[in-house]
Symmetry: C2
Subunit: 330 residues, 2 copies
């Protein structure tokens, strides 16, 4: 069966509220730096009140990756749950505007559309506080197996494990992808998320996951080691394709045979906000895979996309990634 | 992707203990006539003790259908759980001997291989008492999504709903089949089984099931009507292919457009034991579908297979169904 999509992504459908903050602000509001923390509706409202000069934009890890893929010119579909409220409608419109198919039924009632309050400190680090809201309403009924089977790659974020219904939906999607002989790509999302679900993620890596995206901290958390070297050794021993990003140190790719490719980071004139760096790296890498490029080329495409997104506020590309890739001769 | 199997069947892996009994025996042992009742290990042992001149053979509804398909010459695979005990090994050997692929991991511990104690009364009716045993150990991990996706048709028995793990395994298999663009066939199994899970079966029929097998009693139970006519009307209104068997009255097929085909039953010299009649009808019908025969031809193939199996004790064909079909000019 021919594939209709290069990638079908499933993730939490979240609207980002981004603002510049000092390290003192993080301390004052007990925000854990550089990671994602789940918060309730009450705390979300308090943080939104405290955020000065915040800008709002559609986000969510896998949704950001789908946006990046669309910017490269890939054909993608996103599955995630918003409520039929103002934020939810904007989220849906944003995806459609950039050419990502999105037809998950919006929740008519229940919790409001999810938001992520992101404090960006002067060092460019982003500290995320997520109220999952309507995301928790995603169930297996929202997964159209035939649609999943029609995508060359299924891309899933580890954050989905924070909810039982979402997890069941992902398991259904993985079965649909595997049934159709497709590849399953998975991003570990966050070191704390890995800490919460390490055993389940390791179990998924035995047969369900073909391509794993992780940053260095997530890889160390996954394999329960303190340094990068043993994390890389563990990734090499795994029989899938492991893609580990290391911020300014570039990325390391371990292929199923255990061969390792290292790629330096793309130079960035000014690092402003790392939000979306991992999401966009995955977009570039997956775009390269969809075009059957070499792993080295996939890593370069990922680096170019990540460099673009950290040069400005916000988690989705502002320039055409397709044009940037062409400019780089890729 | 080319299909490797005509049909992959998933069902309870059961060894049958069949014996001739009087209606008085049924009354004395409080056995419900002509249906399937779930029993525990203790009652199973008591009934086996009471059964005179019993013969033992591999059974299980979907497994019987796979045996019938193999007898027609189709390429099939069965998924079901036995324990690694004497009965379990025999069950596995029986399937392999007749050419049905069977590689579900046998349980090393836990309950013993399932058995079904079948009392056949002089009118040919079979009253079944099932101890599920090891069947309950089938979990989603036993489903190989790629293997399911490699079969043109996934065939599932309603009996699987009697266990939560089995049900989850089936949902995974359905996602894999749908992801690969395959057809899903489902047999309602038993009117009491329909009574237990009516709402879930009706929900499955909205999108998950393409082909439904039922006998008249099961169809009436499903649609909660007392006569055949309204059951047929409800089946016609459904957007799948409904195949309803009516014992000596033949079968009625309602296609997705609502068109109805009726097929008389194949004449039988002597009705001895109806065990497996529905299973073998499904085998013939699915064999016809796999060869892209007309629905009328599929129904005839089903009738020929059912006629063979009710002419002797036991739920699997004793003659070559391929030869019988050839003899009938099909």
């Amino acid at each position: 069966m021919a594939s209709h999509y290069d990638v079908l992504g499933i993730g939490n459908a979240i609207v980002d509220v981004i603002f510049a903050a000092s390290d003192e602000f993080l301390l004052e509001h007990t925000i854990a730096k550089s990671v994602m923390t789940l918060i309730d509706e009450f705390r979300a409202a308090r943080l939104v009140d405290a955020a000065q000069n915040a800008t709002q934009s559609s986000g969510g890890s896998a949704a950001n990756t789908m946006a990046g893929l669309a910017s490269f010119g890939a054909h993608g579909c996103f599955v995630g749950k918003v409520k039929k409220d103002r934020l939810g409608r904007e989220f849906a419109e944003d995806l459609k505007r950039i050419g990502v198919q999105f037809d998950t039924r919006m929740a008519a009632q229940g919790p409001s559309t999810a938001c992520c309050i992101i404090a960006v400190t002067p060092d460019g680090h982003r500290s995320m506080n997520t109220y999952l809201g309507a995301c928790r309403e995603l169930t297996p009924d929202d997964i159209n197996s035939a649609q999943v089977g029609a995508a060359s790659v299924l891309y899933v974020e580890g954050y989905m494990w924070d909810d039982e219904h979402s997890k069941a939906a992902i398991r259904k999607a993985i079965a649909a992808a595997k049934g159709a002989g497709r590849k399953v790509a998975f991003t570990l999302s966050d070191p704390f998320c890995v800490g919460r679900y390490r055993d389940e993620f390791l179990a998924l890596m035995k047969g369900d996951i073909d391509i794993l995206f992780a940053n260095e901290e997530e890889a160390k958390a996954l394999f329960e080691v303190e340094n990068f070297a043993p994390a890389l050794e563990a990734a090499r021993a795994w029989d899938g394709l492991a893609v580990i990003t290391r911020s300014e140190k570039g990325c390391v790719v371990a292929d199923p045979s255990g061969a390792v490719h290292m790629q330096p980071a793309e130079p960035v004139a000014k690092l402003l906000d790392t939000t979306g760096a991992g999401d966009q790296f995955a977009a570039g890498f997956l775009y390269g895979l969809s075009k059957e490029r070499s792993l080295t080329m996939c890593a370069r495409l990922g680096s170019i996309a990540a460099a673009e997104v950290i040069s400005h506020y916000g988690a989705r590309p502002e320039q055409s990634l397709k044009a940037l890739a062409a400019k780089a001769g890729l």
